[in-house]
Symmetry: C2
Subunit: 214 residues, 2 copies
């Protein structure tokens, strides 16, 4: 059975996946970049930003695992871009330039309809009828492979609460943010259990899955 | 300068220091015991419960560090016992038997006065005039050594928010609780920064301190 998977979501020790005061200059909020220091040091993480070098090893393996056997992506509108409300025009085409790093169909949750946006290797589809409809379309597009759930936090929490996430990989970074967007708890993680814990000297990796009820 | 220190507080991956539905049978709430599996496997942790054996190493070093150079303890009333409201009598004498493991003065925050309770090696004092007064009395009793802040969660959060904690050691256990008492964030950790991150194969240890403002 194809799965819905979440990968490489970093949280601070105090539980925030983004810092306070998010804006265009600080898309991850103040201090939020520090959550991803461990990733920026990996070979795969650096390659995502067109940089050379970086380390191999456990952290890198986790970054890479996020792309393995993924046939489609679902994401919230805030991860696609900063535009709020009805789309004023078609000019916002994502954060990623002409060739987004997905190379498969991406389903963007939105309350506001918009035509499909085909780009080099990736087509963005805007889904207005809810998280289950988006997931269904993504599974169909993935052709038997798994679906990856991107962010943001609100979107991940919605899917967790609905019990639709099969596997999630969370990384606790050695950082405090004080306040911000909280990822886990508040019933979002009820019914899930930790299945893997792998610390490195830069971060602690946890994988969890729906409880088997034993 | 003597410090106020917090040690060996375990939280779940989703941020809870105790599980839901705390009662006398489950003083740490449902699932809360699992937060401390790493500690029960250490030599020092086992000795606390009168058990032999257990491992030495990094986890054990952290448990032991919690007692080093400590001259007094402050704790919330809920850590002292389950009695709520005015003390009906003097019969509740703590969870720890005739010889509590402190061997120094312990200051218990309470809204309800009660006479000092001297026990073998430890005297419990009940402080009704707030967290700062309790801390002042504890520093005086500690005679130049540090003061340790015990739990519960609400008490730790009060001291964090007031900026009175100098150092805190938190352990993220590979466990999800879904809901419960949340330890960090919600502004309690604003103004603090991580100064040490030491993972082991059982848990991830973080130490944080007040930011130096650099």
């Amino acid at each position: 059975m194809p799965k819905l998977r979440v990968h490489n979501v970093s949280v601070s020790l105090d539980g925030f996946a983004a810092g306070p005061a998010q804006d265009l200059k600080n898309p991850l909020g103040v201090g939020g970049e520090d959550l991803h220091t461990w990733m920026f040091r990996t070979r795969t993480g650096r390659a995502m930003f067109g940089q050379e070098g970086g380390d191999e090893g456990v952290d890198d393996d986790f970054v890479r695992a996020g792309d393995e056997n993924i046939g489609a992506t679902v994401m919230g509108r805030n991860m696609f871009g900063p535009v709020r409300g009805p789309w004023p025009d078609e000019s916002w085409r994502g954060w990623w330039g002409d060739e987004p790093p997905y190379h498969h169909d991406v389903f963007v949750l939105s309350h506001h309809p918009r035509a499909d946006l085909p780009m080099r290797g990736t087509t963005f589809h805007f889904v207005t009828d809810g998280i289950e409809a988006a997931l269904e379309r993504a599974f169909a597009a993935a052709g038997g492979r798994d679906v990856r759930l991107g962010g943001g936090v609100a979107t991940i929490r919605q899917y967790l609460r609905a019990g639709l996430v099969d596997e999630m990989h969370v990384v606790v970074a050695p950082v405090l943010l004080g306040t911000g967007e909280r990822l886990l708890g508040g019933d979002a993680t009820a019914g899930y259990e930790v299945v893997e814990f792998v610390p490195t000297d830069r971060a602690a990796h946890y994988r969890f899955a729906r409880s088997t009820g034993d």
